[in-house]
């Protein structure tokens, strides 16, 4: 009972309009959705039902926008450094960025055995972008929504700050990788080779149905697992941050501890996403 009271108290400290801690969390998990409303007008959804009714052709403006901003930050930072990159003694920022580039380069070299100049920059983009998106998890959960609410002048505005806790974002990334897997599979092995790999392995062509039953799920599981692994890890972390945020002043040490632990998750998930992309693309390039 005492804990529940605390939760409510904490929630009220943050935003007075939440009646319970559950509502606080629920509200923080909602998106700022732009789409066509029931009356035919295009606009932002004001409740989760309204957002749901917009159907597929709607856009999560908050996560999409932050994802784009983070991607642009990544490109701008790396672009400025690459413009000034010298082969002499590197400065501080160049050093840091070279470390990342070299890490990606080494991993690609060790894992990817075909020749393709796109893979390494692609992996760098994935690693840095996913890392930055995950990093938003370390921003205290109320900061960015509060800023957005103040700017919009709407204290009930939905705003989700961590793009990788939106399954659309992670699925978008995973599907991009999936598209490339299919593209390179067909490019390297031809349509027949690609389909043959699914149909004639591992048991030869007389067991085609069995092969398809075994290979197709494994093939389709690649994008699904990519998307859901990242989403699940970050979503869970986010929810725990939200729960911790309900604790009032007790949240500070807990928040710190969870954030420190989360640094590991953030980096690991970005690294995993990159590594699995490289592995999948290597498989796509492997002609048996």
């Amino acid at each position: 009972m005492a804990a529940e009271e605390h939760a409510v108290e904490g929630a009220q400290e943050h935003a007075p309009q939440y009646a319970t801690g559950g509502e606080y969390i629920q509200h923080h998990l909602g998106f700022l959705v732009f789409g066509q409303k029931e009356d035919g007008h295009w606009g932002f959804a004001h409740s989760e039902e309204e957002a749901k009714d917009m159907g597929f052709w709607s856009l999560n403006v908050d996560t999409m926008g932050i994802s784009l901003v983070l991607g642009l930050i990544f490109l701008a930072l790396f672009k400025t450094v690459s413009k000034k990159a010298t082969s002499g003694v590197p400065g501080g920022v160049q050093n840091a960025i070279e470390m990342i580039v070299e890490m990606v380069q080494t991993n690609v070299k060790n894992t990817f055995h075909a020749k393709n100049d796109y893979i390494a920059p692609l992996s760098l983009t994935i690693f840095c972008w996913v890392f930055l998106m995950n990093l938003m998890d370390l921003v205290p959960v109320d900061v960015i929504p509060l800023i957005a609410q103040t700017i919009a002048g709407d204290s009930h505005l939905y705003f989700k700050a961590v793009p990788s806790t939106d399954v659309n974002i992670t699925a978008g990334l995973a599907l991009s990788v999936f598209i490339m897997i299919i593209y390179y599979s067909i490019k390297i092995k031809g349509v027949g080779g690609f389909l043959g790999e699914l149909a004639f392995h591992p048991f030869g062509k007389w067991a085609m149905p069995l092969n398809l039953v075994m290979e197709l799920p494994a093939f389709l599981a690649k994008p699904v697992s990519l998307a859901l692994r990242l989403f699940g890890n970050l979503f869970a972390g986010e929810v725990i941050f939200l729960v911790i945020a309900l604790l009032g002043w007790y949240q500070l040490p807990l928040h710190f501890a969870w954030a420190v632990f989360h640094i590991l998750v953030i980096t690991l998930q970005a690294y995993l996403f990159m590594m699995l992309t490289i592995v999948y693309l290597n498989q796509a390039h492997n002609d048996h």
Binding site: K52, F56, V81, S82, G88, V101, Y118, L124, A171, S176
Partner: protein, 156 residues
């Protein structure tokens, strides 16, 4: 957790970002990395070579030093030999000179002796004549007895 068009937005954004990264971000950084790697490799190689050169030079220097020492020893030997030779020659010369002086002096002495004898003889003849004059108490015609006196003088 609605799936919506954000997926497509993310896919498009991803390919645009990856394309941009591939064309404008990746190449300069990797070029700088490769160039530095090459520079470092060259530098290490140069250092290696310099070390080997140094070793070679030291070896050469020590060899030269050894040769120089050997040379100096032989030069010293030669010089010593030459010095003793010169000393010997000088001694020999001095000895010969001394001998020559001695023989010359002896010859002169002999000559002196001969001349003295001659003088003595002449004086003895005069003395004999004057003695004979005194003994004979008479003047002797020098002209008459001259030949006799000369005979006497030569027989002395």
């Amino acid at each position: 957790m609605n799936l919506n068009a954000t997926i497509f937005g993310q896919i498009i954004a991803f390919f645009v970002f990856a394309w941009f990264c591939k064309n404008y971000v990746w190449p300069p950084i990797v070029a700088a990395l490769d160039e530095r790697q090459k520079k470092i490799a060259d530098g290490l190689e140069a250092a290696d070579r310099a070390g080997k050169d140094l070793e070679l030079a030291q070896e050469k220097a020590s060899q030269l030093l050894k040769e120089a020492k050997k040379d100096s020893v032989s030069i010293l030997d030669q010089a010593n030999k030459r010095a003793s030779q010169i000393v010997d020659e000088a001694k020999e010369q001095a000895r010969l000179e001394g001998q020559r002086l001695i023989t010359a002096a002896q010859a002169e002495i002999e000559q002196e002796v001969l001349r003295a004898k001659e003088d003595l003889r002449a004086q003895v003849s005069a003395l004999a004549i004057s003695g004979a004059e005194k003994i004979l108490q008479s003047s002797v015609d020098e002209k008459v007895h001259a030949s006799m006196l000369d005979q006497l003088a030569t027989s002395l």
